[in-house]
């Protein structure tokens, strides 16, 4: 008897391209094709399929950024260009995810600086970028227009579209040829609905990355884990509105009590372990992009993903 794993999948995950090199009209040093799998994560027999990518998160106003992440990164946090560059050269991240936290300022009206920030980060790193725009509906239109325009030709991944707030991001993606992160609150059906809404305003499926919303480990992570498994399962079963790659963005990880209140000598390691355990579990559940804020986690996850892709005895 042959003991092989056969789920009878009928679908496969679509590919999304992140970043454009000069052959594609951009200036990135490399680009990625994420997705494309036709089996469960790491069970895939395709040798060439990408490991999950690690997106290092930076921001342009560190006021509310986790103090742990800030001290782990050091002085570079004071200049978003240095930070982006360090993420590439020293932390060895695959992607840089820029949070435009300066747009969170209360009552902000003039957002013309956004374009410059994005251009600066683009010039500082050759990695493909994820840009997280505003949190405030009244400035969305302007902020995303600026992001989109500044990154024209670079195939950015823009975040974050939600069911009641997706038009500006979609418009920026369509106008300037970028992709979007579509976030729904830990619910497969809502994820699907948002993808349909995006499709209805002509955002093609190969420009969508699903963010099922990741609760921090110990704070609802299990819901996110199952949401990811279900989305991946439905995609592989052939539900075309759920065949997009996923991003895991556990933004609260470094702010939870266990990490925030850890004693000082352990705090760094706890922060890294919390990100690391979350990252492994999310990757196994189907996330193609894992967002990270502590530099030390990057290397550990990369090493683990290599080992996960290596098969000596069991080929699946």
């Amino acid at each position: 008897m042959e003991f092989n794993l056969n789920f009878g999948w009928s679908g496969s995950i679509g590919e999304v391209i992140l970043g454009a090199t000069n052959t594609d009209g951009g200036t990135r040093k490399r680009s990625y094709h994420i997705g494309g799998s036709s089996n469960l994560p790491f069970i895939d027999q395709k040798e060439f399929s990408e490991s999950p990518l690690i997106a290092f998160e930076i921001c342009d106003n560190v006021q509310y950024w986790s103090p742990i992440a800030k001290s782990a990164c050091g002085d570079v946090i004071n200049d978003v260009k240095d930070w982006a560059k360090t993420a590439e050269t020293s932390y060895d991240a695959d992607l840089v995810r820029l949070h435009l936290t300066s747009t969170r300022e209360r009552g902000l009206r003039d957002v013309s600086f956004v374009k410059k920030v994005v251009e600066n980060v683009l010039s500082a790193t050759g990695l493909p970028l994820i840009i997280e725009g505003s949190n405030e509906p009244s400035i969305d239109s302007e902020v995303f227009q600026q992001c989109g325009e500044a990154g024209q030709g670079e195939r950015l991944l823009l975040g974050t579209a939600e069911a009641n707030r997706y038009r500006s991001i979609a418009a920026a993606a369509l106008a300037y040829n970028h992709s979007v992160i579509a976030q729904s609150p830990i619910d497969i059906n809502l994820a699907k609905q948002l993808n349909i809404l995006l499709r209805e305003i002509d955002v093609p499926h190969d420009r969508i990355v699903i963010d099922p919303y990741t609760g921090a480990l110990g704070y609802g992570f299990e819901y996110s884990y199952s949401a990811m498994e279900r989305i991946r399962f439905s995609g592989l079963k052939g539900d075309a509105d759920l065949t997009m790659p996923m991003i895991c963005s556990p933004i609260d990880t470094l702010n939870i009590k266990e990490v925030r209140e850890a004693d000082i000598q352990n705090q760094n390691t706890i922060a890294v372990m919390w990100e690391f355990y979350t990252g492994i579990a999310a990757a196994v559940a189907g996330a193609e992009i894992i967002c990270i804020r502590h530099p030390k986690t990057v290397e550990l996850l990369k090493k683990a993903f290599v080992a996960l892709k290596t098969k000596n005895i069991y080929q699946g």
Partner: protein
């Protein structure tokens, strides 16, 4: 495919004799269908029915008990590939490994950690499971000495790792009655190890590279009379493990390969990436994980992940109802009411802490339902709020009589005011807006 209750019922004697302990044959059939019944409890089953039911109602993965007493654990008896399909029932045991080359002091230190270290999360105490002792000395005496040293100070499940039958026999003189797990039988030594296992009534790990070989080996061991087995597919890489364990789980639960229907054993300490292997083992079907003793940081993350993944998705984790303090609230501090669904609690708690406004959280018992569902189901109602205010003596803690309720509970505001005599302020629907709300509304 598992039989449905109705199909099972048709095979039962339909006497409603109650001798199985259930009031009706239908109840018994429902239990069997859920994999929670034991056909041997029915005294009137004919042989044919027994064979049919035996093959289909027995849990697809055998339940194996390790250790005895309070800290004993059971692993296996799983039914699903994805936790969302039902739940994962038996969380993996995490065992710290020691060597019989270590000093007795070192070993006692590790033993104490495993015995005492407790992480309390959402009202549950989380522990490591036990110790795995490696017979690295190669001889019997040090092995036995270490084991008796452990037994002196702790009643923990043990794993005896040795390929020396003498060493195992010797050690089992000390601990054989406590159901330690023996590691490991292979195609060479399985007869001897089965003998030892049978003699002491201890569960046994079988190991082989390749699932066909593993299945053959479990078959041979059951022929020898040992059925409390665990299986070690002996992965060389993390990729090997995820592939092997996923395949085992899928073939076992679909009953395609009953000979693989045993809990999976995983030695994470030999992977060079222990944390990655532990995380992977937890999410991907390991039932026993061996690790080198590890740091506080890994401990917390590993135990938390294990708790998360083994939470029943259909039964939300519940907080203990009560009055919780954020910061050091004084008698004028706001009181915020919410439900005891853990996710709601933690989310609100997080946002409240970041506002830095000291306050009280009044957590009422909605049986773990979220605000929206508990309002819809009538679980969150004015009587519950009134009784909770009384029970937790909220009125002794504060001078005012104002209660902030979740935005989705707005339809209840009038009734709560009437039942409690308090003034009700309706808070935002989204916890993220609570800071803004407190600044705008409470300060008024």
């Amino acid at each position: 495919m598992a039989l449905k209750a109705l199909d099972i019922y048709k095979l039962l004697p339909k006497k409603n004799c109650k001798e199985c302990g259930d009031p009706t044959c239908l109840t018994f059939a429902m239990k069997l269908a859920g994999g929670k019944g034991d056909i041997d409890l029915c005294p009137y089953l004919d042989e044919n029915a027994k064979t049919v039911l035996g093959a289909t109602t027995r849990p697809p993965i055998r339940l194996v008990k390790l250790g005895v007493g309070e800290r004993s654990i059971s692993v296996g008896e799983e039914f699903v590939f994805y936790r969302h399909e039902k739940t994962f029932y038996h969380q993996p045991g995490i065992f710290f490994s020691v060597s019989d080359n270590d000093t007795i002091d070192q070993i006692k230190k590790v033993t104490t950690i495993v015995r005492d270290e407790t992480l309390t999360r959402v009202g549950v105490d989380l522990h490591f499971s036990g110790l795995a002792i490696r017979n690295e000395s190669g001889s019997a005496d040090p092995f036995a000495r270490v084991i008796s040293a452990i037994e002196e100070i702790a009643d923990l499940p043990l794993i005896l790792i040795s390929d020396n039958p003498n060493a195992l026999n010797n050690a089992l003189v000390h601990c054989g009655t406590y159901r330690p797990l023996i590691y490991a039988a292979d195609s060479e030594n399985y007869k001897v190890l089965c003998e030892i296992s049978k003699k002491h009534g201890c569960p046994l790990v079988v190991k082989a590279s390749g699932l066909e070989k593993l299945a053959q080996l479990t078959k041979m061991c059951t022929k020898e009379g040992v059925t409390d087995l665990l299986i070690d597919p002996h992965p060389q890489t993390l990729g090997d493990f995820i592939t092997a364990s996923s395949t085992i789980r899928q073939l076992a639960i679909t009953r395609m390969a009953p000979d693989l229907g045993y809990p999976v054993f995983y030695d994470a300490s030999k992977t060079g990436q222990q944390d990655a292997a532990i995380a992977l083992g937890i999410v991907k079907y390991a039932s026993v994980i061996i690790t080198d003793p590890f740091s506080t940081a890994s401990t917390k993350a590993a135990l938390t992940l294990r708790q998360n993944i083994y939470t029943d998705p259909q039964k939300p984790i519940q907080m203990n109802p009560g009055l919780y303090r954020i910061g050091s609230p004084n008698k004028d501090a706001p009181v915020l009411l919410t439900v005891n669904f853990s996710l709601t609690f933690f989310t609100l708690e997080g946002y409240l802490e970041s506002t830095r406004i000291p306050c009280f959280m009044l957590i009422v018992d909605t049986e773990g339902l979220s605000v929206l569902t508990s309002v819809a189901a009538g679980k969150l109602n004015e009587t519950l709020v009134r009784d909770s205010i009384k029970k937790f003596e909220v009125e002794n803690e504060i001078n005012h009589r104002k209660l902030i309720i979740p935005g989705y509970a707005a339809p209840l505001s009038g009734r709560i005011e009437e039942a409690t005599g308090w003034k009700v302020l309706v808070g935002p629907r989204d916890a993220a807006e609570i800071g803004e709300f407190l600044i705008q509304e409470w300060k008024k």
